[in-house]
């Protein structure tokens, strides 16, 4: 069997296996739509807030209107007491409350100061932060208004008033994901993980279905089989990766900083090491339904340990070190740095070399595994 024939046989074997096609092609396409689906609206807006207005003055009403005008807040009701507001929140009709104390306007005009209370449902962090941001900015605005009126009343010049109110500007700007959108945050890391997991499952099912049976894989040397399998999976995934990193990133508005050459150069060891890992893992299985289960179980831990959801510094060291043998872990962080955060090639060089090292390691393991599998006697049909 020549090498080209072997390649052809591998490709046919992959396409003939319904489960591999379902996982590799179906899974990748299906997830490219399904996973980002909940996040398409990017930022949580118009969170429902109830107001407890004990003051009922012109200023408190203005404050409520200003809060309602914030894109983050939607005032759904005004209720008489905090207990009633609690009822609204526990029935999930509202997620936050604003309490305006009695004598709010009067105290401010008398120069006594007043305290506004905000509450947000911290069972949902994004809702809480949206409510807190919206209400605080409305409150600060009201505060500045009152201050300005006070200063003007004391005969200060309006220009100076403006200056003393905003003596220092704090210019806080998000970078790398300027819209603070949820899709650009989740998609880059998640998509690499999907490629990684489906590739491992595909290679796993292919191997598990072949060992101990008779077929073209018995007619070639382990080295030829591994190299052919690596090539075929890498070529298939080169296409799928370009769909993910190219079209999907564009479609979901993910910021892209690196050049095509850099991204391809970075993806090369990722695909190679993942394919080698998949072949090595496949030697552990003989039942076709097992690879999917094992890899499905480890998906969530890999996602969280890769360090873009939860800071690496807070993950126990042992977990971080153990996770370094998973190709997706250096790949996700490296790719985020290279492609989303615009770091130079030298910055991601350690991750790149790590993936090459993993490729070497898994190739060796795959060689040992495949050799053992091919030398064990065949199962009688």
């Amino acid at each position: 069997m020549t090498w080209l024939q072997l390649l052809w046989a591998e490709l046919k074997a992959i396409l003939a296996e319904k489960d591999i096609v379902l996982t590799v092609f179906g899974g990748v396409l299906f997830y490219s739509v399904l996973y980002p689906l909940p996040y398409l609206n990017q930022v949580p807006t118009e969170q429902m807030v109830v107001v407890v207005d004990h003051d009922n003055s012109s200023l408190s009403r203005q404050l409520v209107r200003h809060a309602d005008a914030s894109p983050k807040i939607n005032i759904v009701a005004q209720v008489g007491s905090i207990t009633e507001a609690q009822q609204w929140i526990s029935e999930s009709n509202a997620h936050g409350l604003l309490v305006i104390p009695e004598g709010f306007r009067r105290n401010l005009l008398l120069g006594k100061g007043a305290t506004l209370s905000y509450g947000g449902d911290a069972s949902y962090f994004l809702i809480y932060s949206a409510i807190a941001e919206g209400l605080i900015s409305a409150g600060m605005d009201a505060s500045k208004q009152v201050q300005m009126v006070g200063l003007l009343a004391r005969g200060q010049n309006p220009k100076q008033v403006e200056q003393s109110l905003n003596s220092v500007n704090i210019n806080s700007v998000p970078v790398f994901n300027p819209s603070l959108g949820y899709t650009p945050y989740v998609v880059p890391g998640l998509f690499l993980l999907i490629l990684h997991q489906t590739l491992l499952i595909g290679a796993g099912i292919l191997g598990a279905g072949q060992w101990r049976k008779k077929g073209y894989w018995n007619e070639v040397s382990p080295l030829a089989l591994i190299s052919a399998r690596l090539t075929v999976f890498c070529v298939i995934y080169a296409f799928l990766s370009s769909f993910y990193l190219g079209y999907c990133f564009y479609w979901y508005g993910v910021s892209v900083q690196a050049s095509l050459g850099e991204v391809s150069l970075f993806m090369l060891p990722f695909l190679l090491s993942t394919s080698a890992c998949g072949i090595a893992l496949s030697c552990l299985f003989v039942k076709r339904e097992l690879p999917t289960q094992v890899l499905l179980l480890v998906s969530m831990p890999i996602l969280f340990v890769s360090g873009f959801v939860w800071p690496l510094a807070l993950i126990p060291d042992l977990l971080v070190q153990v996770s370094q043998v998973i190709p997706a872990v250096p790949a996700i962080l490296g790719m985020l740095e290279l492609n989303q955060m615009g770091a130079g090639w030298m910055t991601v060089l350690p991750q790149w070399l790590q993936m090459w090292a993993l490729f070497a390691l898994f190739s060796l393991l795959a060689y040992i595994g495949v050799k053992r599998r091919l030398s064990t006697p065949l199962l009688r049909e």
């Binding site: 909940p38 398409l40 936050g96 506004l116 201050q147 552990l284 999917t292 340990v305």
Partner: protein, 406 residues
């Protein structure tokens, strides 16, 4: 029935992987995922501080940043170095005090403090942005107070003059914004759902009868299913209870309602998972495909729970898809019991949303009827109906050799 149950137990005993799935794998993965987030509160996140002014004021502001538990300021002398560190994700934000910051402030200019935070790591970035502004704001307030005193303002009214409206922000139900209380329960519930799906699919796969290249459904399919439900619901429920005890018993996270309601909700979630799995099983009818399809269906459940990203802001399609997942029905009850202390009546009302799984069960039953009739027709001609009846108990589809696994 007892014979079937015995047979089920024997199957379980003879399958090392299935045995692992119902015993130590859930425990290990639950503990691992909790361990990952066990830090709970984000603390000491590195922030680059570029002080181009180097005045007493900017140093005081930097000390203010140090005093914040979330922030760990790291001094950089060059902006370009700070930028490079940011791109390497070594720091999550950069604070720049401009040249002649203090002078400009004293001569009533309005200088600008620049903050850049990494929003590619959204949760960390947002947290840092608000904490940095809070710390700097508090530090600047002192300066402004000094200025007022110099202008001859009565010391009693300085505070009011500075901020006439003070605000008190309360994080309801999760006072200290603890990530363990926020993220770990939905993550573990998603995990439990995946595990339950696998356990049930594996067990259903045992009931398939292999005949040459195709698989056939057993005659007594539904009584087998009944046995599996009787066997696996309590086992998986036990793992669910382990999650609840770990989080709300051992770790002592606040819980407002009663634990028994949550256990009921968990049981209902499991009972809702089974019909979905049966439907998938009947549609695919091939061991590996059952698992692949089930995984494809259940793997993204976490994203759709609506804890990380609010349900109201999801597109309509996502909200519909969300209802297909039993875990999202459960998490609603979970949060209302944990946070709002919902009583039995409220939770029972929420349970009504499970009606749709009854429809799934009916669909599965209908599909079974169709398949079975077809199967009978094909095989009726060969008149080997007896074969099915006995085959199901005699030979499950896999080989019983334990060495065959892994």
């Amino acid at each position: 029935m007892r014979a079937l149950l015995n047979q089920e137990l024997k199957c379980l005993w003879n399958s090392p992987w299935q045995l692992a799935l119902v015993t130590y794998i859930p425990l290990v993965s639950i503990l691992c995922l909790w361990w990952l987030f066990s830090a709970g509160l984000p603390r000491q996140l590195p922030v680059a501080v570029v002080d181009q002014d180097n005045s007493q004021l900017t140093r005081a502001l930097t000390r203010n940043l140090t005093a914040n538990s979330v922030i760990k300021p790291i001094a950089f002398s060059q902006l370009s170095d700070a930028e490079a560190a940011m791109k390497k994700a070594e720091v999550y934000a950069v604070v720049v005090f401009p040249h002649q910051f203090k002078k400009s402030l004293l001569t009533s200019g309005s200088p600008t403090i620049d903050i850049r935070y990494n929003s590619q790591f959204l949760l960390v970035g947002k947290l840092l942005s608000s904490q940095l502004q809070l710390s700097l704001g508090a530090g600047l307030m002192e300066v402004a107070g000094l200025k007022q005193l110099l202008n001859g303002v009565n010391s009693a009214s300085v505070a009011v003059n500075l901020s006439p409206v003070t605000s008190q922000t309360t994080a309801l139900f999760n006072r200290n914004n603890n990530y363990v209380g926020f993220l770990v329960p939905p993550v573990l519930i998603a995990l439990l759902q995946l595990l339950s799906m696998m356990v049930f699919v594996n067990s259903l796969n045992e009931s398939l009868i292999k005949k040459k290249d195709s698989y056939l459904i057993a005659d007594n399919f539904w009584s087998q299913v009944g046995c599996k439900v009787l066997l696996y619901t309590p086992i998986m429920l036990l793992h669910g209870c382990f999650i609840l005890v770990l989080l709300y018993g051992y770790l002592g996270l606040p819980i407002a309602g009663s634990m028994s309601l949550l256990v009921t909700a968990l049981a209902l979630m499991l009972l809702a998972i089974w019909p979905l799995v049966i439907l998938v099983f009947l549609v695919m009818r091939e061991p590996a495909s059952n698992i692949s399809f089930g995984s494809a269906l259940f793997a993204p459940a976490f994203a759709f729970m609506g804890v990380t990203f609010p349900v109201n802001d999801m597109p309509l399609l996502a909200q519909w898809w969300r209802l297909i997942m039993p875990s999202s029905h459960y998490i609603d009850s979970h949060i209302s019991v944990i946070s709002y202390g919902a009583d039995t009546q409220q939770v029972m009302l929420q349970f009504l949303s499970y009606w749709y799984f009854l429809a799934v069960a009916v669909m599965a039953w209908g599909l079974y009827k169709i398949l079975f009739n077809k199967q009978q027709k094909v095989n009726g001609s060969k008149s080997d109906k007896l074969f099915f009846k006995h085959k199901s108990s005699a030979k499950p589809s896999n080989n019983n050799n334990p060495g065959a696994y892994l």
